[in-house]
């Protein structure tokens, strides 16, 4: 009798599992397909709160950007697409959508296409594991060439060793760039349609100590209901209305 009751319970659990296990991401997809973009936004924000790998997080940000776009919220969409391409620099759809959204907003392209921007794209186009693998590859190659040169000597091997020695820093450049790039523990992006004042205290009546430009990235320091304390890249700190900001989880 007890065994039968256990079997029934197990079967019920198995049947109920697919419904109860529908992840927030899948709920977001379903809501998006149904045209309920606000619900999709909420679901994918839940997904982003989870621990995800970088590529998966980039995909969620891309989808979240699409939901904002469909809601007519171009600036949050741009912020999400920017987060997506930062997490996955070769996310072609995110790049496409980012440039489209920036064009619609009247902003300059994220990739201006000049030499500086192209080099920047080249350096940042690899994902983090690829950057590490490149460093490992460079070191391995260098050790092999060194061993050969030690064993056999000769001009050609000496030149090869020299070339490999120069190549290793180049191969390590994307990894070093990613490592040395300033990172923020809690980045936020200004998504207000115009620049917002940065106030010394969380009160509208207080004079502003500075301004935050549209799509400027800041670091979140503290939070009060309706207000967020942030730090600008130049170190200026102040309070700003939380409605003007979008938190990124990179």
């Amino acid at each position: 009798m007890r065994a039968r009751a256990l079997r029934v319970l197990l079967a019920a659990l198995l049947l109920a599992l697919p419904l109860g296990a529908q992840s927030s991401f899948e709920r977001g997809v379903a809501a998006y397909r149904a045209g309920q973009y606000a619900e999709a936004c909420a679901a994918w924000n839940e997904t982003l709160a989870e621990e995800l790998d970088a590529l998966g997080r980039a995909r969620v940000y891309h989808d979240l950007g699409n939901a904002h776009w469909r809601l007519g919220e171009t600036l949050p969409a741009i912020a999400c697409y920017t987060a997506a391409v930062r997490l996955d620099p070769r996310h072609a759809e995110a790049w496409h959508n980012l440039e489209l959204a920036r064009a619609k907003q009247g902003l300059a392209p994220a990739d201006s296409g000049d030499l500086s921007a192209t080099l920047q794209r080249l350096v940042t186009s690899l994902r983090v594991p690829e950057r590490r693998a490149l460093v490992f590859l460079g070191l391995t190659l260098w050790v092999v060439v060194l061993t050969l040169e030690m064993r056999f000597g000769g001009r050609a091997l000496r030149l090869a060793l020299l070339a490999t020695t120069l190549l290793v820093p180049l191969l390590a450049l994307p990894w070093a760039h990613g490592l040395l790039a300033p990172t923020r523990a809690a980045p936020m992006v200004v998504v207000a349609s115009a620049s917002v004042p940065l106030r010394a205290e969380p009160l509208e009546a207080r004079a502003s100590v500075g301004e935050l430009a549209v799509l400027e990235e800041v670091e979140r320091l503290d939070e009060l209901p309706g207000w967020t304390r942030v730090e600008r890249a130049d170190g200026l700190r102040g309070w700003v209305s939380t409605d003007s900001l979008l938190a990124l989880r990179l």
């Binding site: 621990e51 460093v135 060194l146």
Partner: protein, 578 residues
């Protein structure tokens, strides 16, 4: 004797005359002024003759300003020189004459103030002159002139016409007619518009205006004045005022009569009549109630539209011809643009062509309906200021019904626009993978350490190896590394024991970094005991035995050792570090 003296004096005069004329008499230039006639008829021209005696150069510094007299440009100085011989005395004189014309524009006595001239670089003035202007009392009996504007008060941009009617008694013999119209050539504050053409059958040529121009006038039906018939002509000129304020039209004169050309001069018997001066008041366009789309049209205008096609397919071109007619500044307003009008949203305007005439403004618009839902070409509005009503009115064309058939197997142009609008890429529905723990900063630390340590250790190892073994790329080292392979190749080619022994000795020399001759007659076992103590004793013995066998084969005729034995032993010695 007296006769001889006179003749001698004549010759002397002929010889000295030019010099005397140039030298001139004593006392400097003398200026005098006189009127050509002290009494002038109203409308007629008079002149002040300025005479400078014994002056070389003269010019009028400023024209006198007299109310009722209009002075013209002074003539160029005319020089007259004369020399006389009287009672044995020779005298010479030169005279400069300048004529200063004026027209009498008002009755009464007028005083012409002193006129300043510059004579040979010095300023001199004439005395004041007095001229009397009298009305030609008979002129009004024989002729008339009337100058009237179509409106006494206009707004900026509203064209108005000034009509001049003039004529003379039909029974009077007249062979010349001249109008003096001071405003004809230029009227500050107004633009002259093109005149309408005069019908050929009523055209009268040869009317002189301001003494310079010959214009054509339109002959009208004779008019009755004081019971008499007058031949009547008409001239007109249309102006477009460009600024507010009065436009002044001074007194106009009409001179007519008979001109007789004599053998040496011309005489004319003429009459003068004048038209009173008047002004046209120009007021600003009212800004109150002025629509934002006001394009500057002023007047009483009417609009009419026509389409060259009324049954078209979507996208086909329709030429919409719009004509504005009426009294107004037809040439000066900006024609409306259908592309900017909401009612023309169902059309695409490709452009327009315009034709401007004083009496008609024609604009042909090139329109294309975008869909089959379009049923009419909407009314095209034009905001006009109506001076009569003193308000802004909208003059519109009538809507034109059209039929637009859909394109076969194609969408409408409007749909095309929407279809080609760029859109975002779709979402990625692949579920994200959870983050894998491990790695991350630890891997970066490891890589950073490796990036520093590996090259450092590698270079240290290389330096150590170099110190111990030298450069592996040196010729002796390369020869040593290649010794085993070289032995095999040499033995393959060795035809006899001598060549085999030479190959073996070369192998040993390469491995010990010595010349081949160093191994001639050397005992391998003794050498190994001294220089290669680490070499296995068995291997050293085998090498010594092989060397003895080779020498026996070379010198004693014994059988040469097998090639495989040589190669195998060479490989073992190389592996043992020889």
């Amino acid at each position: 004797m007296r006769t001889r003296t006179t003749i001698a004096g004549l010759f002397l005069w002929l010889a000295l005359a030019p010099g005397l004329g140039a030298a001139g008499p004593q006392g400097g230039p003398k200026l005098s002024a006189r009127l050509a006639a002290g009494v002038v008829r109203l409308g007629d021209t008079g002149a002040v003759n300025l005479t400078v005696e014994d002056g070389r150069d003269a010019r009028v510094l400023a024209l006198p300003e007299v109310a009722g007299l209009r002075f013209g440009r002074p003539s160029e100085p005319r020089l007259r020189q004369s020399t006389s011989y009287v009672n044995g005395r020779i005298s010479s004189e030169s005279t400069l004459t300048i004529v200063l014309p004026f027209r009498a524009e008002a009755e009464g006595d007028h005083e012409i103030p002193p006129i300043a001239l510059e004579i040979d670089g010095r300023r001199q003035e004439t005395r004041a002159l007095r001229v009397t202007v009298v009305r030609d009392i008979t002129g009004a009996d024989f002729g008339f002139v009337e100058v009237r504007p179509t409106a006494q008060r206009v707004v900026e941009g509203q064209p108005f016409t000034v009509e001049i009617r003039f004529g003379w008694l039909a029974s009077e013999q007249v062979n010349f007619a001249e109008l003096n119209l001071p405003w004809w050539d230029s009227l500050p504050g107004a633009i002259e518009l093109a005149e309408r053409t005069i019908p050929q059958e009523s055209r009268v040529d040869g009317i002189i205006v301001n003494g310079r121009l010959q214009v054509a006038a339109e002959q009208l039906d004779p008019s009755e004045r004081k019971g008499r018939s007058f031949l009547t002509l008409r001239l007109s000129k249309t102006f477009l005022p460009t600024r507010s304020g009065p436009l002044e039209f001074p007194t106009s004169f009409f001179e007519f009569g008979v001109r007789r050309q004599g053998l040496f001069d011309a005489r004319r018997d003429s009459h003068f009549v004048e038209a009173a001066p008047f002004a046209v008041e120009v007021v600003e366009l009212p800004s109150a109630g002025q629509p934002l789309d006001f394009s500057g049209a002023v007047g009483a205008l009417a609009a009419r539209a026509s389409a060259d096609q009324r049954d078209v397919r979507a996208g086909d071109s329709i030429k919409l011809t719009v004509e504005w007619t009426g009294q107004g500044n037809l040439e000066f307003f900006r024609a409306p643009d259908p592309g900017s009008l909401e009612v023309f949203r169902g059309f695409r305007a490709y452009g327009s062509t315009e034709e401007k005439r004083p009496e008609r403004r024609t604009v042909v618009y090139d329109l294309a309906p975008l869909s089959s839902e379009v049923e009419t070409i909407p009314a095209l509005p034009l905001t006009v200021y109506d001076p009569a009503a003193e308000r802004y009115v909208t003059v519109s064309t009538e809507p034109i019904p059209i039929r637009v058939r859909p394109l076969e197997r194609a969408a409408t142009l409007g749909d095309d626009e929407r279809r080609f609008e760029r859109d975002i890429a779709d979402i990625d529905a692949r579920a994200p993978a959870p983050a894998s723990h491990g790695g991350g900063p630890g891997q970066d630390r490891f890589l950073a350490t490796a990036l520093v340590a590996v090259p450092l250790l590698g270079l240290l190892a290389r330096a150590h190896v170099r110190r111990r073994s030298g450069d592996p790329g040196a010729p002796l080292e390369r020869r040593r590394r290649r010794a085993a392979r070289a032995l095999g190749r040499a033995l393959e080619r060795a035809p006899d024991p001598v060549a085999a022994q030479a190959a073996w000795l070369e192998f040993l020399a390469a491995r010990t970094r010595e010349p081949a001759a160093a191994w001639n007659g050397r005992d391998f076992g003794r050498w190994a005991a001294q220089h290669a103590p680490g070499l296995e004793r068995e291997l050293a013995r085998a090498a010594g035995a092989l060397q003895a066998d080779l020498e026996a084969a070379v010198w004693g005729g014994a059988a040469a050792p097998e090639r495989a034995r040589l190669i195998e032993l060479g490989r073992k010695l190389a592996e043992a570090g020889l």
